[in-house]
């Protein structure tokens, strides 16, 4: 993979004058602190008040903070876990079907998120945020477009024949102004007189929806008897075009033969000038012959090069083999752009997919998207399809793990999404555990409930050092706030005998000062835990009123 050096992304810090001053900084668990300073003058001379009076908190992983994407993260988490768990059961023929189903699940989650964001975009009060939401819908749509193509090529692994059908569906799903156009035209009084009528018919032909196109033509035939016979002939051609339908038992060779004959018939009509009286109908016939010049005249209706590609294939090479795709893809891209513009990142991603260069697809997606969500989940799925060779990484033994670690680390920046991150770390065999250890001890323990949740997670994974450390932190906090009972129970849970002794000392000191014990019921109910430290044992017995002499004997024996 070629690597070019480019300027990395710049984040601007307002108010700091980088020409004159520098910045000091510190890392936090999910954020970074930044502040203007001046390093060069270490001598203790008084400087004027700093020009930038602010301290900044900087974050990455913007998307983690979006409400709507929350659902995407949550639901895809469920799909991810499900996939990891059924791995062993995925065998034989059903394996592929299962993996395709997982892929479709991911895609439906993306679509659901798109739908929701679209609603928010419509409801947005100010145009600026409405614009932003709709551009995000646009990005989600692109993600689904890419994922869908990857599903067809890499997971479904559609062979020649079905490949084209899948690609047709793909295009129809993603370039679907057709439906609204169709509603417009059909809903009008005189459909064939509608200004968009011919656009509609053309688009239907471009998308291979010949039955619908034929129906449109019959409306035109009714309204315009002079071209009724031409419409009928063209309609017949549309009806008789051989196409592979699912469940069809004919072989590819048979299909191709029939298709060639059909093509010759179309060609004959053109040469006989059957449609000469109607340039529009003639153009449709040319489209059905895959005439590139005619197709390119309808760039606006095609709207992008991959639609052009699929239409080309439909009408000039319907039995195209997967390995030949990239030739057509590259030439389609070149022809469609016509040298007027250069490929955009989305184009590069799709092209890499047509070239079956999975690593390039992942690389381009990683660059183009700001969030690890997409590449992490897609790569994981492709890994389950056994499609990724493992490259040795410094941290993370392969690309899949690297991306999952990045994604999971990003989740830990969020006050509740971190719980999802735990599961992702669990499925990273090399560095997942140690990464989880480092992240989980940084989670702020604002409430007892959160602390218990964190502890449960650590205990389930036998992360004894983290358990000890967290309990110690809580015990210390309790001592500082003079909540001795709480301190005692935390230090017992930490199995920290030394600290339990310390706390017991405090209890006893309290007793000496006040003449009574606080937290008596806690001390009474310690059970075997009271053996953690001698002082603690002493405390328990003393508080229960057992004479010190008896206890002394007990301790000595």
């Amino acid at each position: 993979m070629e690597e070019l050096d480019c300027e990395p992304a710049i984040t601007w810090i307002p108010g700091v004058n980088s020409k004159k001053k520098q910045m000091c900084f510190d890392w936090g668990p999910g954020e970074m602190l930044l502040c203007e300073t001046s390093f060069s003058k270490k001598v203790d001379t008084s400087e004027k008040v700093p020009s930038c009076p602010f301290i900044y908190i900087v974050r990455k992983d913007v998307d983690v903070y979006s409400q709507i994407l929350r659902k995407l993260f949550n639901e895809s988490h469920g799909i991810f876990i499900g996939l990891q768990r059924i791995e062993e059961e995925l065998t034989g023929k059903s394996r592929k079907a299962q993996l395709v189903r997982v892929s479709k699940n991911y895609r439906s989650v993306i679509r659901a998120c798109m739908e929701e964001m679209h609603q928010v975009a419509i409801a947005a009060k100010d145009p600026a945020s409405g614009r932003q939401f709709s551009s995000q819908v646009s990005i989600l749509s692109a993600m689904e477009l890419i994922w869908n193509l990857c599903e067809i090529l890499f997971i479904e692994v559609a062979p020649a024949g079905p490949l084209l059908l899948h690609l047709l569906d793909w295009v129809r799903l993603h370039v679907c102004e057709v439906d609204s156009l169709s509603a417009d035209v059909l809903g009008s009084e005189n459909p064939s007189k509608h200004e968009s009528f011919w656009n509609l018919v053309t688009v239907l032909v471009l998308q291979g929806r010949l039955d619908e196109a034929r129906q449109m033509l019959s409306k035109e035939a009714d309204a315009n008897p002079s071209c009724a016979s031409m419409c009928r002939i063209l309609g017949d051609l549309m009806r008789t075009m051989p196409i592979l339908s699912p469940g069809n038992t004919q072989t590819l060779t048979e299909l191709e033969l029939k298709w060639q004959h059909w093509r010759e018939e179309c060609e004959r009509h053109l040469q006989d000038s059957t449609f000469a009286a109607s340039p529009r109908l003639e153009a449709l016939c040319k489209i059905m012959l895959g005439d590139e010049a005619t197709l390119l005249e309808h760039k606006e209706l095609l709207s992008n090069w991959y639609h052009f590609l699929v239409t080309r294939l439909l009408y000039s090479n319907p039995t195209v083999k997967p390995i030949d795709l990239h030739f057509y893809a590259q030439s389609s891209l070149d022809m469609f752009l016509g040298g007027e513009s250069s490929p955009e990142p989305l184009d590069n991603i799709l092209m890499a997919a047509f070239e079956f260069d999975i690593h390039q697809v992942i690389k381009e997606c990683s660059i183009a998207l700001s969030n690890w969500w997409f590449v992490a989940h897609l790569t994981d799925l492709l890994d389950h399809c056994r499609l990724l060779q493992s490259h040795n990484l410094y941290f993370g033994s392969n690309m899949r793990e690297f991306l999952l670690l990045e994604y999971a680390s990003g989740l830990f920046a969020h006050h509740s999404l971190w719980q999802l991150g735990v599961d992702y770390f669990d499925y990273c065999p090399e560095l997942g555990r140690v990464s989880l250890e480092l992240h989980i001890e940084r989670i702020p323990l604002n409430t007892e409930q959160k602390a218990l949740k964190v502890l449960r997670i650590c205990e389930q994974r036998q992360m004894t050092e983290q358990v000890r450390s967290i309990c110690k932190i809580l015990a210390m906090k309790a001592v500082r706030n003079n909540r001795l009972g709480s301190a005692l129970s935390w230090s017992i849970r930490a199995k920290d005998a030394a600290f339990a002794t310390l706390v017991s000392d405090r209890f006893l000191r309290d007793y000496c000062e006040r003449g009574c014990f606080s937290d008596l019921d806690l001390i009474d109910n310690l059970g075997p835990a009271m053996m953690l430290s001698d002082r603690l044992t002493f405390l328990v017995y003393h508080s229960a009123g057992i004479s010190p002499d008896l206890l002394f004997l007990k301790v000595c024996l």
């Binding site: 990395p8 992304a9 954020e31 908190i57 900087v58 990455k60 895609r107 690389k363 183009a368 480092l438």
Partner: protein
Amino acid sequence: MFVARSIAADHKDLIHDVSFDFHGRRMATCSSDQSVKVWDKSESGDWHCTASWKTHSGSVWRVTWAHPEFGQVLASCSFDRTAAVWEEIVGESNDKLRGQSHWVKRTTLVDSRTSVTDVKFAPKHMGLMLATCSADGIVRIYEAPDVMNLSQWSLQHEISCKLSCSCISWNPSSSRAHSPMIAVGSDDSSPNAMAKVQIFEYNENTRKYAKAETLMTVTDPVHDIAFAPNLGRSFHILAIATKDVRIFTLKPVRKELTSSGGPTKFEIHIVAQFDNHNSQVWRVSWNITGTVLASSGDDGCVRLWKANYMDNWKCTGILKGNGSPVNGTSQLGNSNPSLSSNTPNLQNSLHGSSAGRYFFPPLDSPRAGSRWSSCAQLLPPPAPLVEHSCDADSANLQYPHPRRGDRSRPLNPLPENEGV
């Protein structure tokens, strides 16, 4: 990256250091105004100054938090030749209501004869211990044997570095296989001074720190030094801030091959060297997993470095001041920063915070007018100053998926069946 919050610092003079606590919910700043301020993050994400007090009689160079296992403890060091340890006292209920907390000095460490340039707590498994270094060339290691009584600190070790010291770093590795280790950097500018980076290791037998290595290839003044957190590696990674950014690996040579009882010998390799700052590099620091290094230089930028899958280190982000005047409002962003994305980042829309730039260096930077790339951030920050042509001038909301051309299309209803 994006600016999530800005907080009015309110120091009366230059700030020299900022420091997050372990959980990222408190921070400390120190300044030439001789004071330290402590800030707390509330549930809603706002930061409030909960303490501000005079700590020294000279500029305060560094401030650092102890591990929360030891409670709420800070250490500071200053031009006034001292370092100090502070502990937060849980205050009266009045204080709590006013949102103020109270810090008391537990000890002053006065052994240095010159400005104390750095102070760092040791890894928690070593107990409550800290190291200071001074312009007098001595690294001092202190320990508080009783964590409940922070006024008792004893000087355990004095390590003579022979050169004016500017920075220290403890090796955070808590593995039993590694003895405690500390790296010291010197900013001595005399050309004869050779040992600008020295590494000392604790010897269990002699109970002393002995020099293990000198990085001979570092000959320019060193301003900062940082061991990376260890993700289970058998070797160490050390970052140096000098006239450029340098990253070294130190692989321990097997003990049998060296004279027994002596300090570990290391195989030292330089794995990266960057002069992108075009000038002196003043600070280096690792993120909590040791996967990203940040550096700050004379060019006024903070740069982020990460190794890609080929183990090549690259710059993956730059934080830079644009010098634009700030209008004095603090707490940019709305009241719910953790839930919404509505935090203004004035110019980040032009350069999306692309996650993959360092993993896979980009072939192309986003171009203006390219609708896909200008919206490449899944959630671009709102209200950018420079508006991109996400053309939505038409009254009906367009709902395009990214493609060429600027024709607005009618609303695209989602199809009911998936089709595939």
